[in-house]
């Protein structure tokens, strides 16, 4: 039976306290709010101008375009924040010499890691929740239709699943690279994971293997061995924008794959941390 030491709770709370004070997160939160408000106002204005221009005729409909733009933006910002928080998570402990002190308590290294991952993940999920609600409320006011439905909730669940491996991968890279390098490396790596998922998942495997390239060969292990954040993202898109799903996109199979691979990813990160001298 998996049992957690009492220290786990305090390290988890400490992670949240630490990341709440992260200036980069606050800057991005303010930036997101400003961009969402400005974008909403701008699109509302454009729609009004277009309606007046076509005086008397049927007004043009932007449909869900503003909403899609908001969600796309929030997705990008969430990824950036997840990587920032992930990279900072253990690196700032190292910089402040706190890792020595925390690990000198009777806490297992995987508990320390899990507390840092979950605390960081929680902070990014709260950011995503705030942003998505702000976008949905503003869009509902400007379009005069209530759009906060189960799709938005499902998108939140899906994106929170995507945030977890993003944070973990950022932590993993932060073991080996300085902060700035770890940030960019994680960002491009996550882009490649999305590319791999969309590339491998969009065709039958036979067709994929028949037409291999260097990047396609690299994409194969990434698609099968890491959580499929790109595929999950396409589920979110399908929910929010009514976009078609890639071939073979069975949600529950991908969810099962996600569970197995996230456990492997966190275990691998824990194993590396366990072998690291502090």
């Amino acid at each position: 039976m998996l049992s957690l030491s009492p220290c786990f709770k305090h390290i988890l709370l400490n992670t949240v306290q630490k990341e709440i004070r992260n200036k980069s997160i606050w800057s991005l939160l303010i930036l997101t709010s400003i961009v969402i408000i400005v974008l909403n106002a701008l699109l509302g204005l454009l729609l009004q101008l277009a309606t007046e221009f076509q005086a008397g005729g049927a007004g043009p409909s932007l449909g869900t375009l503003p909403l899609n733009a908001f969600f796309w933006l929030i997705d990008i910002f969430s990824t950036v924040i997840a990587i920032l928080v992930g990279v900072n998570s253990l690196k700032s402990d190292e910089e402040n010499g706190v890792n020595l002190q925390l690990l000198s308590f009777p806490v297992k290294r995987w508990e320390y890691l899990l507390a840092r991952i979950l605390g960081s993940w929680g902070i990014v999920v709260v950011y995503y929740l705030y942003s998505i609600i702000l976008a949905a409320v503003l869009f509902s006011i400007s379009s005069r239709e209530f759009i906060v439905g189960y799709q938005v909730f499902m998108a939140l669940v899906n994106t929170s699943l995507i945030i977890l491996p993003t944070v973990t991968i950022a932590i993993l890279f932060s073991f080996f690279l300085p902060k700035l390098f770890a940030f960019f490396f994680s960002f491009f790596f996550m882009l490649f994971v999305t590319y791999s998922n969309l590339s491998v998942g969009s065709v039958e495997i036979g067709d994929y293997l028949a037409n291999l390239s260097f990047f396609k060969i690299l994409a194969l292990p990434i698609h099968y061995l890491l959580p499929r954040t790109g595929t999950l993202s396409s589920f979110t898109n399908a929910l929010l924008y009514n976009v078609d799903l890639p071939i073979g996109s069975d949600y529950f199979i991908n969810l099962a794959h996600y569970v197995v691979t996230i456990v492997i990813l966190i275990s691998l990160t824990g194993w590396i941390l366990k072998r690291k001298d502090v």
Partner: protein, 236 residues
């Protein structure tokens, strides 16, 4: 049973031997000084005891439990060489965090925190942030954190570093008091004059090797610790 028992512990970083087959034992209630020049392997050994560094061979037992098992650190308090914490924490917040990590809760946490701060003379720092404190104040904060709970083994890495003479005297008195309470102190230092007055056992390390170890003053053969240390390290 010995509280710390190291058996043939070796550790190297690349081609540099930080510890070479080091064996030592620390008895309960003793004040054990690990002495050596800079780079002699003292900190590596302390980190190995705490499971922060993985020895390449040998093993270390704390109260009979292998140091690789986190349970071995139950009842152990550690003060790192340069104590620091997140800059936004208050001094009492740091000490309470230490206490809560040791399982102290509720009003007991506040009481112990105040007691520890008073015993270190830092009760006037209540509410002050870590980033606003001097090195000496931080060092005292770290020691106050160690005093939280009922740890029987206190491991201090260069505790006198960064302290002024008054603070050194106060710390020595405090450590003597802890010794009188029956606690085991394992102190890693290169300030020999202070250690000679405080410790009852010592080991001298240089380049990862143990040059001498034993009970004081017997090991010194009538010499001062400083002369004995100089002689051993120079010979090496």
């Amino acid at each position: 049973m010995n509280v710390i028992e190291a058996q043939n512990v070796s550790k190297s970083y690349g081609k540099v031997n930080a510890l070479s087959s080091l064996s030592l034992t620390v008895e309960p209630g003793s004040v054990y000084a690990l002495l050596g020049p800079n780079g002699s392997g003292k900190t590596t050994f302390v980190k190995s005891v705490l499971g922060l560094v993985r020895p390449m061979s040998g093993k270390i037992l704390i109260n009979g439990i292998e140091s690789t098992d986190p349970k071995s650190r139950t009842g152990v308090s550690y003060l790192p060489e340069k104590f620091n914490f997140f800059p936004y924490y208050t001094i009492d917040g740091v000490i309470k965090f230490y206490g809560s990590m040791k399982g102290i809760k509720g009003p007991e946490l506040d009481t112990q925190c105040l007691q520890a701060m008073k015993s270190l003379g830092i009760d006037d720092l209540m509410g002050k942030k870590v980033k606003e404190c001097s090195k000496g104040q931080l060092q005292r904060t770290g020691i106050a954190g160690m005093l939280m709970g009922d740890s029987n083994i206190l491991i201090l890495d260069e505790p006198f570093s960064g302290l002024d003479p008054i603070a050194i005297k106060e710390l020595k008195d405090l450590l003597k008091g802890l010794k009188d309470q029956g606690k085991t102190l394992f102190i890693n230092s290169h300030i020999l004059s202070e250690m000679e007055k405080l410790c009852d056992h010592a080991a001298i390390l240089d380049k990862g090797e143990c040059l001498a170890q034993g009970e004081l003053p017997g090991m010194l053969n009538g010499k001062s610790l400083e002369d004995f240390f100089y002689e051993k390290v120079k010979k090496c």
